[in-house]
Symmetry: C2
Subunit: 259 residues, 2 copies
DNA sequence: GAGCGTGTTCGACATTACCGAAAGGGTCCC
DNA sequence: GGGACCCTTTCGGTAATGTCGAACACGCTC
C-alpha cells in the first residue's frame, strides 16, 4: 500500500464529501497530517487537474479532471452499456424512473438513470452515492454478495437518513433474508421521505452480483394496492434479462440466488 | 511534485483514455515504468476504489470511486450551480440544446447539458471532454484566457476530429481573434459532422474566464439564414447574465473582454 | 498597526517506494 | 496431456523519495 497515494486518495475523498472548498490546514487536521505534507500532495493533484485551487481564497476543491474520469468510467462500464436498452423498456413498462446501480464500498452508485416517461422536470442522479442500507438496490446487491462481504457490510456503522431508515444489524439482516426469499428488494421511504424503490440483483458472467436495477418513485404509486407485485415482476424480469446479456449462465446466477 | 502521486494520476489518465481495460504490463509499457511499480500503485488505487480489477481477467479499469468524485465535483461547482437556471431559459429561448462547459487542461468539459426542448431522445453529455480547438466553448474560453495560457494552448499538438477541424496555429489564432472581435465563438462541424455550436465566455468574480455557455445542434438550424445572429445574441446575453450572477463586476469582465 | 490566521518555502532525516530478478498461475498450442 | 509461453504477482536491497518541524510572507480582523 503505497503511502503517498493513499493520502492523495484520502484528500480527494475529503474534498468530495460534503464541504466543497477546504483549506490546507483544514485538510491536514482532518487527516492528521502535517501541513507541508498535505500541501505537497495538493500541488501534485492540482497539476493533474484532479484538484483545483481557488486563486483568490487559496482554498482547494475537486478539479474538472475527476469529472472527466467519471465520464470515462461510465463509458467503460459494461454493466451500464448492457443495461441501457433494458432499463429504457423497463421505464416504459413500469412508467416510473429506473436506476441501474452498483456497489462501491458501502455506497450504491447510480450508473444509469432513465427518467419517468412523463415529461415532468426531473433531476439527473447519475453518479449519486447512496448508503447501501437505505435503498432498494443496496439491499438487492447486499443480499447476494459472498457471505463475508455481506457480513462486512452489516458490521459497519450506519446513520439513518429518514425516520424509517433501518440501521440495526438485526433489522437489516432480516430485510436481506426477505430479499433472498422474494428475489427482489423493497424500500419504503428509507432514503427520502415520500419515495420508495423496488430493485432486483444483476449477476455477472461469474455468477456474482454486478449491480442492481430498479424503479424509484413516490411511495403511493409504487407500493399502493397491488402495483407492487406488477412492478416487482417487471423489475426482476429486467434484472434477469440484463444478467443474461452480461453472460451470466443460468447455472451461476441461480446457484447464487438460491444459496 | 510528489512522484508516486503523479504516477498514480498518470495511471488513472491512461485508464480513462480510450481502452477501458488494461493489464499491468500494458500500463507499465505506456508509462515507461517497471511492472512491480505499476502493480503497487494499482493495488493502492484499487483499495480506494479509484480503480477496479476484473477478478477473472485480472485486468484493470477505472473504479466506481471516480464516478462518485465526479458527482461531488458537479455538486460543488459554483459555475454549474449558478448557470442552471439561465441555461434552462436559454434552451427555451433558442429552442436548442445548451451546454455549460469549462476548460480542463486542453479539453473542454461539459458541466451541464440542457436538452433541446422537443422531447426527442437525446443522450446526456455531462462530463464529456472535447478538445478545446474543436468546439465553440473551447474557442470562447481560449480567446479570453491570460495571454500566456492562450499561447500554451496554441503551442500544443492537435488532431483533427472531422475534415473541417482547424488544427494549425495560424488558423486557430485567427479564429480566436475573431472571437474577441465578436464576443462569441462559432464552430461549424469541427467536432462532429453535421453539428455546429455557438458559445460565449463566462467571467468570474476576478474577471477571468470561468467557462462558457452555448448552443449545439444541427448546422442547418444553427447557422442557416440569420438564425445565427439571433442565437448569438441570446447566447451572449446568457453568458453575461451568468457572469453577473457569479459576481463578475462589469469592470473586470469588460476589461478582459476588451484587452 | 499589532496580532492572528492563512497558504507557502526550506532543508535534514529516515522512511519509503522503486526496480531487478524470480516465482505462481493461467491459457493456448502442439 | 505435456510443454512453453505470457501474464500477474511476490520478494528484498538500495537510494531516491517524501515527510515533517520550523520559519516566511501575506491578508484580515480587531
Amino acid at each position: 500500500m503505497i503511502q503517498s497515494v493513499e493520502r492523495a486518495a484520502a484528500i480527494l475523498a475529503v474534498l468530495g464529501s460534503g464541504t466543497p472548498r477546504l483549506g490546507v490546514t483544514e485538510i491536514a487536521d482532518r487527516l492528521g497530517l502535517a501541513k507541508p505534507t498535505v500541501f505537497g500532495l495538493l500541488r501534485t493533484l492540482v497539476k493533474h487537474d484532479l484538484v483545483a485551487q481557488d486563486p483568490v481564497s487559496g482554498k482547494y476543491s475537486l478539479g474538472a479532471g475527476v469529472l472527466q474520469l467519471g465520464n470515462a468510467y461510465l463509458d467503460g462500464s459494461e454493466l451500464r452499456a448492457r443495461s441501457l436498452l433494458r432499463a429504457e423498456s423497463l421505464a416504459q413498462r413500469a412508467n416510473e424512473a429506473v436506476w441501474v446501480a452498483t456497489l462501491s464500498g458501502t455506497r450504491v452508485i447510480v450508473l444509469h438513470h432513465v427518467f419517468r416517461p412523463d415529461n415532468t422536470v426531473q433531476i439527473l442522479e447519475v453518479g449519486a452515492a447512496i448508503p447501501w442500507h437505505a435503498c432498494a438496490p443496496g439491499h438487492a446487491i447486499a443480499a447476494y454478495l459472498p457471505a463475508e462481504q455481506t457480513a462486512a457490510l452489516l458490521s459497519g456503522e450506519r446513520t439513518p437518513l429518514t425516520g424509517r431508515t433501518k440501521t440495526t444489524r438485526a433489522a437489516l439482516g432480516q430485510a436481506l433474508a426477505q430479499v433472498r426469499r422474494r428475489g427482489y428488494a423493497i424500500e419504503n421511504q428509507e432514503a427520502t421521505v415520500g419515495d420508495a424503490g423496488i430493485a432486483a440483483p444483476i449477476f455477472s458472467r461469474e455468477g456474482t452480483v454486478a449491480g442492481a436495477v430498479g424503479v424509484v418513485g413516490p411511495v403511493e404509486r409504487l407500493l399502493g394496492r397491488g402495483a407492487e407485485d406488477d412492478l416487482a415482476r417487471a423489475v426482476t424480469e429486467s434484472a434477469r434479462a440484463i444478467s443474461r446479456d452480461l453472460g451470466a449462465g443460468r447455472g451461476g446466477a441461480v446457484l447464487s440466488a438460491l444459496r
